[in-house]
């Protein structure tokens, strides 16, 4: 038994402080992303979910420049971007991707400028890479409480607005007829997604934040059509892939081409993609919900 465990978990896995932090933060991100991901996929807003990760780079690079904690830059920018996207028409089907694209383009343009100033003023060339890809094993433990608090806020929005959000995600006409303020619900949902994505982008990197938001939720929605069950599945898939990814990355210290570990994001993303592919091949006949559209 201990032999098997020893071959799975490389020596020192459970005693390592960075691993503890990575497991904790990764789990929080997986849970929050799983719940919000179901809404994101149902509302056809995958692009917005992905864009927030990139947009938060602007906040990150801007806060480097101002010298404030990146977490406020990340969260603030993406909530602001959620507001702008809503203002210029993310609700309309055709304009949705366009609105997201315009906001993302402008935000990344600003990020280019901020990074240029960052690198010329303070010569932190590594900043681009750190911000883009994140590094799970390099999270400072002091940011963990703030991340936890803001994640709880995002989950709180969903918990308070659960039923109206769900109804307006499935059918905005029906929700409108029931007297639900669809627009307000939409903004609240977008803000919650923005918060969740920017936090996970800060801690686990932009790639993983998109992957954890979309992948488990899309897989879960292929396995079940009930939103509550889908959220549970998405959280489970997200947690398992994240943990496996961390274990594999820790093990890969001893893999070729040696020197250092393979990136966690590579493992987690690959595992998530394989899950989706399996669900895609197992249940290909599932009809696309016409109310959700192509997105």
């Amino acid at each position: 038994m201990s032999g098997i465990l020893g071959s799975v978990f490389a020596p020192g896995f459970f005693g390592s402080e960075p691993v503890h932090v990575a497991l904790a933060v990764g789990s929080v991100a997986a849970i929050v992303s799983g719940v919000l991901g179901v809404f994101t996929v149902m509302r056809g807003q995958s692009y917005a979910g992905h864009a927030f990760a990139d947009i938060s780079i602007t906040g990150g690079s801007g806060s480097f420049l101002l010298g404030i904690s990146p977490i406020w830059g990340f969260a603030g920018t993406s909530v602001l971007a959620a507001g702008i996207m809503d203002m210029i028409g993310i609700q309309r089907p055709r304009g949705r991707d366009l609105a997201t694209g315009i906001v993302r383009g402008a935000a990344l343009g600003l990020a280019a400028l901020f990074l240029y100033w960052d690198t010329t003023h303070t010569s932190t060339t590594g900043a681009t890479v750190t911000i883009l890809f994140g590094s799970m094993f390099a999270i400072t433990p002091s940011t963990v409480p703030v991340v936890l608090a803001l994640s709880l806020a995002a989950l709180g929005i969903v918990a308070v607005l659960y039923r109206p959000l769900l109804l307006s995600s499935v059918s905005s006409e029906l929700a409108f007829a029931r007297g639900i303020p669809v627009r307000v619900a939409g903004v609240a949902c977008l803000v919650a997604i923005a918060l969740a994505v920017s936090l996970s982008a800060l801690t686990i990197g932009a790639i993983l934040s998109t992957a954890l938001l979309i992948g488990p939720a899309a897989t879960a929605l292929r396995l079940t059509t009930r939103p509550g069950q889908a959220m549970a599945w998405a959280v489970v898939i997200g947690l398992v892939t994240t943990w496996l990814g961390i274990v594999l990355a820790y093990d890969s210290f001893s893999w070729p081409p040696a020197r250092h570990a393979w990136p966690v994001s590579f493992f987690v993303v690959t595992l998530i993609f394989l899950c989706y592919l399996a669900a895609h091949l197992v249940s290909p006949g599932q009809r696309r919900d016409p109310a959700v559209g192509r997105g």
């Binding site: 807003q45 995958s46 060339t125 883009l132 998109t210 993303v269 993609f273 192509r294 997105g295």
Partner: protein, 280 residues
Amino acid sequence: MFSSFMTNTWTVATIVAVVAGVVGFFVVLRGSAFVADALPTGAFAGAAGASLIGVSTLAGLTVFSLAGALAIGWLGRRSRHDVATALTLVLMLGLGALFLSFSQEYSAEIYSLLFGEVLGISVNEVAPVAALGAVCIVAILVMFRPLMLSSVMPELGEARGVRSYRIEMGFLVVIALATSMALPVVGALLIFSLMIGPPAAARSFTSNPYVALALCVVIAVAAVWTAIAASYASNWPVGFFVGVIGAVCYAAGRGWTAWRGTRAVRAAAERDSGVPAVAC
């Protein structure tokens, strides 16, 4: 600004702007902004892979963007298109992260691949860009009518015998080619902003598709020239100017639509309600 070493920059940027304008027109028409965003972002993982095994960057980019386009087309056929795009994108980025972790000295190059290194284009980069650009334009011209039909009225296109899946695949390949052509010289952000901003603006100014297409190319070229001139003058990254100019173009288009009065807005709303109903 117009000295000899800048000649290549102006040439390449103009070619990229024309191609981005033409391809972008259909990107906006078909509502595939996400794909036009995902392929350039994901393809740069190919550049990282190419530098790792020592082949040319262009080859790596082309392989990755083509593979990405085919994966998005195949996965998106039977499921939500945006989900397929997002997952293909993160898989490509995950591979990119892996390649980058194998080769250490790369962060400056990532920056230039993402945000563009437009002021340092050498003369032997012009020919491949021109060739791939020509391929894109010719492909669009060959597919023009079925592409237009299936973008504007997919049902009518099907009835007329347009194979919308083939057209979709063909169009994805064109986006992939345009991406791999433009990425090494102008960066992922620039090509994406050019594909979105000018067409979105052009569409607001006219409802005639041919006029819109021409207008879109004109705006894209003007945007690129302005961005390069501003970048040259201020020494700020060209990606900043293109991103902001793209957003300004879009805002101008929206402003124009609003200014033309409620009647035009109502007509646009009716046009929008013609497409399948949607949540939110």
